[in-house]
């Protein structure tokens, strides 16, 4: 290129080469800069002040620099992802053997909330605490971020190469390969495992369950010739008898059972019938708390109780009795037998025991009662518990004998949660290849060579067969967060089959399930519909099962041998809490902080001890202050705090499984004690009761259990709990109601007739909640749902001890007391076997709200739709509103719970990954402000908006609060009281009447509906329905 020869001058000065120009030419600023007003070099005072002023301003501005927050717009917007518009995907929650059809709400590609899938004929849109909380586990920072080899990161290629090589070597030498897993509900995963076994013929798939139902399957094999767990239908049962089965809480399929059960507990003036529920159990379970008649028995009495029921029914049915069954002293037993028989075909007996012998008799009883085909369906067995306790023991023996050379732990943690944990740990040293697919460094994956971490269920494609003929699809709602791989894909990979699991799944559906339907001949259409619905159902089996009475006779003999109740000594009953369950989700702080439905304790397990027993030991529990004891059974012993539990059967103690994790993560580690070592064996099955050899020694150490409620009884306050019994309700639908009257001007009037208030006009909507205390089981699904929906912080054990938990909706649990009604001191003590009442309590959205008047800055106000609103931005935190709230539902941000290392257990607000679960529609509250239930105002607004866009009114049910939508018992109904077609209007039988001032007033004609604390006339928008127990007489003992 030709060089440019032209010269340009900056100005005439350069051309003329003026001295002044030459002098300044080389300087950065040749021009005069007004910094040095004096000219060269010498700064004067003014300059100094100027520079200092600038310096200070600059330094302080630099110090105030806002943190960089990246908000990157989509360059190419993904189809269907619109900022601030949520998407919903049908999927399936899977955790061990538990599987629930769900709908996942995603925002900007992040799953943030789990809802139940209403299309599922099993759970009908219900969820539970564990399902609701599982979305937080997705964003757990302690999940493994990629494959591991001997504790160090590796890549998938290396892992696959080495694992395959070792597997081949072992297979060639004829060494056994064991795949150990919990129940696998996915048929396609099972197929993949099958391909693995085909490749390595020495491989075996061993299934165990932390809490096993092997006894039921085995019993069905003995009584009907087929090992399966049948499905139950409580909704058809008029008499329900449960022998220690916590079917509303943790047994087999609790959400489904709660749905069914609650249908039998709904009553109104036209339908004055409900099921009667007898419970015989040791620990006061959630199910027992809901029973009409509950009898405390020792675990060892389960044998005689079941035998007695068998013999009682056999006598009526003309079958021969079995030996044993002396249970004459068990209260309510003969009534239960008579009612079972009277309602045969519409009754149901279930037992929680995992002893096949007991379950054989249970089957016999139900067979004699002709319940098969009505309340029990053996043709649609459920697949939640397929574990085989005997196969697991055999495998562990083989491992210790050196026969098993390779162990693959497929999404399970048997070194923690199996009955064989110790033997398994010892035997592992003899295996040459140990692989785990666990998502974290848990107790088991710490002991293996290779970890091939699986996706979280929200990241994967899969399917589930919940019961025969009932399928549910899992679809990913987010791209895998880490370098994980779906476990069945790993199995296929190791089997030498390279295929994308999605393809594999589709192929399997095409060849196996597509053919089972005739709605469409186009596979894509079938697939799309199944994916949209989330569920696909074909009919169940059509076998005929005949009960083998010979099995009953031998079972009777076994029971008579094994269950000997001496009436002396302690017996231990292990149980699961409905929040923590088996402990698989122990690192989920939402679950740890969910207060137990019955004990109201968080962040702990403890020995539940009856009041009489505690008094004998000299242990008192006041405000959570208690003592620890040493619990010893055989060689296992733990130091565990005592929780005094009314209703605990005499001579028994209870301890929850799922605690004492050592390698769950920072949240779950060292919370409580591990109860798995106390599992015993009976007739080849794991049994969760210890009949003898239980000893408890006091340590004298003080301990505090963090309870969210420390006062147990309702002090006979009829303004809080209004209850009656069915026999009374049949006579009078006002049974149990209290109508407070206030004396004014010579007459008694309703409290609402005396008011300083002008009232509110609700011209558009008038939102309200109706809560049926009869169907609420206390399961706490609503509490966790609310936590997820409304970004409620976890505060940790210390702060729960300080009584500062943040839950917006809580379940108040009250025990009855048998003290005289005027003895206020004695009323504080619960009955030895109390009646239990659950009362969900949230902001009552009072129309005459006491909180609204007292706020000095008007931060809490009433909306034109009946909501009591909280303006966080305006709140200055005087807490006057909380003091003046008669329901004590307001929650204060005592500390900064987000971005605060002191609250690092509050995972959803303290790291970038955890924060992805936050609901962007709900503010994360600052320190020093008050908060409370908003009736999910964000959902109301978006529902109204959706309707407005379509130029229509919102339809009832279209807008629903998180609590109401989670409730598996449909105990919470949300709706517009101005909508004549809404469910709430129908439930309350609302009528509009003009009062004397000409104002339109809503009159509630439903006799069961009442306001808590009606006499102070705060006039809530939340109504409670009386608790009616199906009892003959009103008593204070269950």
């Amino acid at each position: 290129m030709k060089e440019n020869q032209k010269t340009y001058w900056k100005g005439i000065e350069q051309l003329t080469n003026e001295p002044s120009f030459v002098k300044n030419a080389e300087k950065e600023f040749p021009e005069y800069l007004p910094i040095n007003e004096n000219g060269e070099g010498n700064s004067n005072r003014r300059d100094f002040l100027k520079l200092m002023g600038f310096g200070i301003a600059a330094a302080s501005l630099a110090a105030c620099e806002a943190p960089v927050r990246k908000a990157i717009p989509y360059l190419n917007k993904p189809v269907d992802v619109d900022p601030s518009v949520p998407n919903y995907y049908a999927s399936t929650y899977v955790n061990g053997g538990d599987a629930v059809s769900i709908v996942v709400k995603t925002r900007e590609g992040r799953p943030i909330k789990i809802e139940g899938n209403k299309f599922s004929s099993m759970t009908l849109g219900g969820t539970n605490a564990q399902v609701e909380a599982s979305v937080l586990s997705l964003y757990d920072k302690e999940r493994l971020t990629g494959p591991m080899k001997s504790g160090a990161s590796t890549d998938w290629a290396t892992l696959d190469k080495e694992v395959t090589a070792k597997l081949n070597a072992i297979a060639e030498q004829g060494g056994q390969i064991a795949i150990v897993s919990n129940t696998v509900v996915s048929p396609t995963t099972k197929k993949a495992v099958g391909e693995f076994i085909a490749k390595y013929p020495t491989a075996q798939h061993i299934t165990y369950d932390a809490v096993s139902a092997y006894g039921i399957a085995e019993a069905n094999r003995l009584s009907f010739g087929e090992a399966m767990v049948p499905s139950y239908d409580f909704s058809k049962a008029k008499t329900i008898v449960s022998v220690a089965a916590d079917f509303l809480g943790t047994w087999i399929s609790p959400i489904e059972f709660t749905k069914q059960y609650s249908k039998t507990r709904k009553i109104n003036a036209k339908h004055r019938e409900m099921s009667r529920h007898y419970q015989f159990e040791s620990n006061l379970s959630l199910t027992g708390a809901n029973a009409d008649y509950r009898t405390g028995i020792r675990p060892s009495q389960a044998g005689s109780v079941v035998t007695a029921i068998y013999n009682g029914i056999a006598a009526k049915a003309g079958q021969s009795k079995v030996s044993g069954g002396n249970a004459a002293d068990v209260a309510h037993l003969s009534a239960a037998i008579n009612e079972l028989w009277a309602n045969r075909g519409a009754s149901l007996l279930v037992a929680g025991s995992n002893d096949p012998a007991i379950q054989v008799l249970v089957n016999g009883i139900n067979a004699m009662l002709e319940n098969y085909g009505t309340t029990i369906n053996a043709n649609a067995p459920v697949h939640f518990r397929q574990g085989n306790d005997q196969a697991m023991s055999t495998m562990v023996k083989d491992l210790n004998a050196g026969k098993v050379k390779a162990v693959i732990f497929f999404n399970c943690n048997p070194l923690y949660d199996s009955a064989e944990a110790q033997a398994l740990a010892a035997g592992l040293a003899k295996a040459t290849l140990k692989v785990s697919t666990s998502d974290r460094m848990d107790e088991t994956s710490k002991a293996v060579d290779y970890i091939a971490p699986d996706h979280h269920y929200l990241e994967q494609w899969n399917d589930a067969e919940l019961r025969s003929g009932h399928y549910s699809l899992t679809q990913p709602t987010i791209a895998p967060l880490f370098d994980t791989r779906q476990a069945p894909e790993s199995f296929l990979q190791w089997a030498g089959i390279t295929v994308e699991y999605y393809q594999y799944l589709q192929e399997n559906w095409k060849s196996n399930f597509f053919t089972k339907q005739s709605d469409t001949s186009n596979f894509q259409m079938f697939w799309d519909k199944s994916l949209f619905d989330g569920v696909f159902e074909t009919g169940g089996n059509t076998n005929t099962y005949t009960y083998d009475y010979a099995a009953a006779a031998s079972a009777g003999t076994l029971i008579a041998q094994n269950y000997k109740t001496s009436g002396e000594g302690l017996e231990l009953a292990l149980y699961q809490k409905l929040s923590i369950g088996t402990g698989a989700q122990a690192n989920n702080p939402w679950l740890q902080e969910t207060s137990d439905a019955v004990t109201k304790a968080t962040w702990d397990n403890y020995l539940t001890v009856s009041q009489a027993q505690a008094a004998e030991w000299g242990i008192q529990m006041i405000e959570g202050n208690t003592e620890t004891v040493t619990l010893t059974v055989g060689n296992s012993s733990v130091v565990v705090p005592v929780l005094v539990q009314p209703g605990q059967a005499a001579g028994t103690v209870g301890l929850a499984l799922g605690y004492g994790r050592t390698s769950a993560g920072r949240v779950g580690n060292e919370v409580g004690v591990n109860a798995y070592p106390f599992i015993t064996k009976l007739n080849g099955a794991n049994v969760y009761d210890v009949f003898a050899g239980v000893s408890v020694a006091k340590t004298g150490q003080a301990y505090r259990i963090a309870q969210t409620q420390t006062h147990q009884t309702y002090m006979n306050r009829s303004n809080v709990i209004q209850e009656s019994v069915l026999s009374e309700y049949k006579k009078d639908t006002k049974a149990g109601r209290e109508y407070p009257q206030i004396y004014k001007d010579g007459e008694f009037v309703k409290p609402s007739k005396i008011s300083l208030w002008k009232g509110h006009d609700y011209n558009n909507h008038h939102w309200g909640l109706a809560i049926d205390m009869n169907s609420c089981t206390g399961c706490s699904a609503c509490t966790v749902a609310c936590q997820a929906e409304n970004n409620i912080p976890v505060v940790g054990k210390e702060e729960v001890l300080n009584r500062r938990e943040m839950a917006w909706i809580r379940i108040d649990r009250y025990y009855s007391s048998d003290a005289p009604v005027d003895d206020q001191k004695a009323l504080e003590k619960a009955s030895e076997n109390p009646e239990v009442t659950f009362q969900p309590m949230m902001c009552q959205h009072c129309n005459n709200a006491p909180c609204e008047t007292v706020c000095p800055v008007a931060a809490t106000t009433h909306s034109s739709e009946g909501l009591n609103q909280m303006t966080y931005n305006r709140c200055i935190g005087t807490r006057y509103c909380a003091n003046n709230c008669p329901y004590k539902v307001r929650r204060f941000n005592w500390f900064k719970y987000h971005d605060n290392t002191q609250f690092d257990k509050n995972l959803s607000m303290n790291n970038d990954l955890g924060k992805m679960v936050l609901n962007p529609d709900v503010t994360v509250r600052a320190r020093g402000v008050m908060e409370k239930c908003t009736m999910c105002v964000q959902r109301i607004q978006s529902g109204k908006l959706a309707a407005k866009r379509e130029d229509r009114r919102p339809v009832d049910g279209e807008i629903n609060t998180a609590c109401a939508s989670a409730c598996p018992a449909d105990a919470i109904v949300f709706g517009d009281m101005n909508d004549p077609n809404s469910r709430i209007t129908a439930m309350l039988q609302l009528q509009e009447e003009k009062d004397e001032k000409g104002r339109i007033e809503k009159v509630v004609n439903e006799d069961r509906a009442y306001h808590v604390l009606e006499e102070i006339n705060v006039n809530p928008n939340v109504w409670y329905f009386t608790k009616i127990r199906n009892k003959e007489k009103q008593t204070t003992e269950a």
């Binding site: 405000e623 409620q709 420390t710 006062h711 009884t713 309702y714 002090m715 306050r717 303004n719 809080v720 702060e799 300080n802 009584r803 500062r804 938990e805 809580r810 108040d812 649990r813 009250y814 206020q824 001191k825 009362q839 309590m841 006491p850 008047t853 007292v854 706020c855 000095p856 800055v857 008007a858 305006r874 709140c875 200055i876 935190g877 005087t878 807490r879 006057y880 909380a882 003091n883 003046n884 008669p886 329901y887 004590k888 307001r890 929650r891 204060f892 941000n893 005592w894 500390f895 900064k896 600052a926 320190r927 020093g928 402000v929 008050m930 808590v1012 604390l1013 006499e1015 102070i1016 705060v1018």
Partner: protein, 454 residues
């Protein structure tokens, strides 16, 4: 010219002359601080600094540093607030009400009582600010200031807002009244001082010239301010009691609260004045001005207000039974027999029983007994507020929410902070300001002074 009956006991003993008054009182201001003063000041300042750590913790970490919880949203904070406001009652009562009633015995004690009022109200005002979750906003959002947020305005229905007005009005009127009374005395000190002290006291005395017209104006303004302040004596604690009385909480929702709170406030205020004056007269050797007669008269006020408080307690208790409201009945049952029974019975003993001892002339003219009972009364009055606030809140309507309140070190630290603040301020006042109103006392030297023994 007023004539004082010869039956009346002299209000000044020791045959003091007008000059003696000036000398005795200016001596403290003009002399070097005494050892006992330095010691007391050191202790007060230490308490202030230690307490400030607790304040800083609260501001830095949040209200969670206190022992409050979901059920008990106020405890020591508002207890201390009401307690200090109550103490702040005596000053205005003595200077304004007694001025209107021409009670001359107030003259020796009104200056210190008013100072005490000012400092007590400052201590009290700490709590409404500190107890807020977000004081940096609340400190001005609680005021009806014009703003750019449209219709964003304070809630005139809220008793807390009434408190803001009541306390600030009371404080400003008390401050002006107190300062006005100081002006002639500052002028006296100015006239005796030299150098920088002359300049400072000169400025403080606002050009006082002692002319008859100035005195005339002074008297009228005093009277007007006394008239303005008198309703405030009743209004401040009435409004403070509305915080509770207008609520729906059993044990709070009580119409008896306004008179009961005012009586309690005067009761505790007088007790605090006694505590302080008994020490001051001893340390500053002012026994001739604050005489046994003064102490006895104040003890009589304590008997009267203590008995009113006692009747209020019993009335409240009777009404809770008579009302037939179970929640109300339980609240009182719980006060007496619940987990905080000890607080209730401490209150009853200290407030109802201990002042009755003053029916005995021997006790009410005994300095040691008066000093002890004056402290006991203030302990009792603290428990009264604690009982009302904490035992009502901790077990209200729903038994599921019943909880206990346990104070933390921070709670105690903040209480200590206000003590530090109060005594630091009071000691500075006692050193640099004339603790007795010289001008007024001089006016009664002629009529009410004990004749010098010949």
């Amino acid at each position: 010219m007023q004539v004082t009956s010869s039956v009346r006991k002299p209000l000044i003993t020791g045959g003091k002359t007008v000059h003696d008054v000036t000398e005795d009182i200016c001596r403290q201001v003009e002399g070097k601080p005494s050892k006992s003063w330095l010691l007391a000041f050191g202790a007060a300042a230490t308490a202030f600094v230690i307490g400030f750590v607790a304040v800083a913790y609260t501001l830095w970490e949040g209200i969670g540093m206190w022992g409050l919880n979901k059920t008990v949203g106020w405890a020591w904070d508002i207890t201390n607030f009401v307690w200090w406001v109550g103490i702040g009652h005596a000053g205005t009562l003595i200077s304004a009400v007694l001025l209107l009633f021409r009670q001359k015995w107030r003259m020796a004690i009104n200056r210190a009582a008013e100072a005490m009022t000012i400092f007590a109200v400052i201590c009290a005002a700490m709590f409404p600010v500190l107890h807020m979750g977000r004081p940096w906003l609340g400190a001005y959002w609680a005021l009806p200031l014009p703003n750019t947020f449209g219709s964003l305005w304070v809630n005139f229905n809220s008793p807390l807002l009434w408190d803001v007005f009541a306390i600030s009005t009371y404080f400003s009127v008390s401050l002006v009244f107190w300062y006005l009374g100081l002006v002639p005395d500052f002028a006296t000190i100015r006239d005796r001082a030299t150098g920088i002290r002359k300049t400072i006291y000169g400025a403080l005395s606002l050009g006082w010239d002692g002319a008859a017209r100035t005195w005339g104006r002074y008297e009228s303004v005093s009277l007007i301010l006394a008239g303005l302040a008198t309703p405030l004596v009743l209004s401040v604690h009435t409004i403070v009691s509305f915080d509770f009385a207008t609520s729906v909480i059993p044990g709070w929702h009580t119409t008896i609260f306004p008179p009961y709170f005012v009586a309690g406030a005067i009761f505790s205020g007088f007790a605090m004045v006694l505590t302080l004056m008994l020490v001051t007269r001893k340390v500053f050797k002012l026994e001739d001005y604050i005489t046994i007669e003064h102490i006895e008269l104040m003890n009589i006020v304590i008997i009267v207000t203590g008995s009113i408080v006692g009747i209020a307690y019993i009335t409240e208790f009777f009404i809770s039974w008579y009302s037939g409201v179970p929640a109300e009945q339980y609240a009182f049952f719980n006060r007496m027999q619940g987990p905080y029974w000890w607080a209730y019975w401490s209150m009853m003993t200290c407030n109802v029983i201990s002042p009755q001892l003053f029916w005995s002339k021997k006790i009410r003219t005994n300095i040691a007994a008066t000093f002890i009972i004056s402290i006991v009364v203030n302990i009792g009055m603290w428990f009264e507020r604690f009982v009302i606030i904490v035992t009502s809140l901790h077990r209200d309507y729903l038994p599921s929410s019943w909880a206990m309140f346990y104070p933390t070190l921070t709670d105690m630290g903040i209480y200590l902070f206000t003590f530090g603040l109060f005594f630091t301020a009071f000691l500075l006042f006692a050193k640099f300001f004339p603790v007795i109103n010289m001008a007024e006392v001089k006016s009664i030297v002629k009529s009410s002074s004990e004749k010098k023994a010949a």
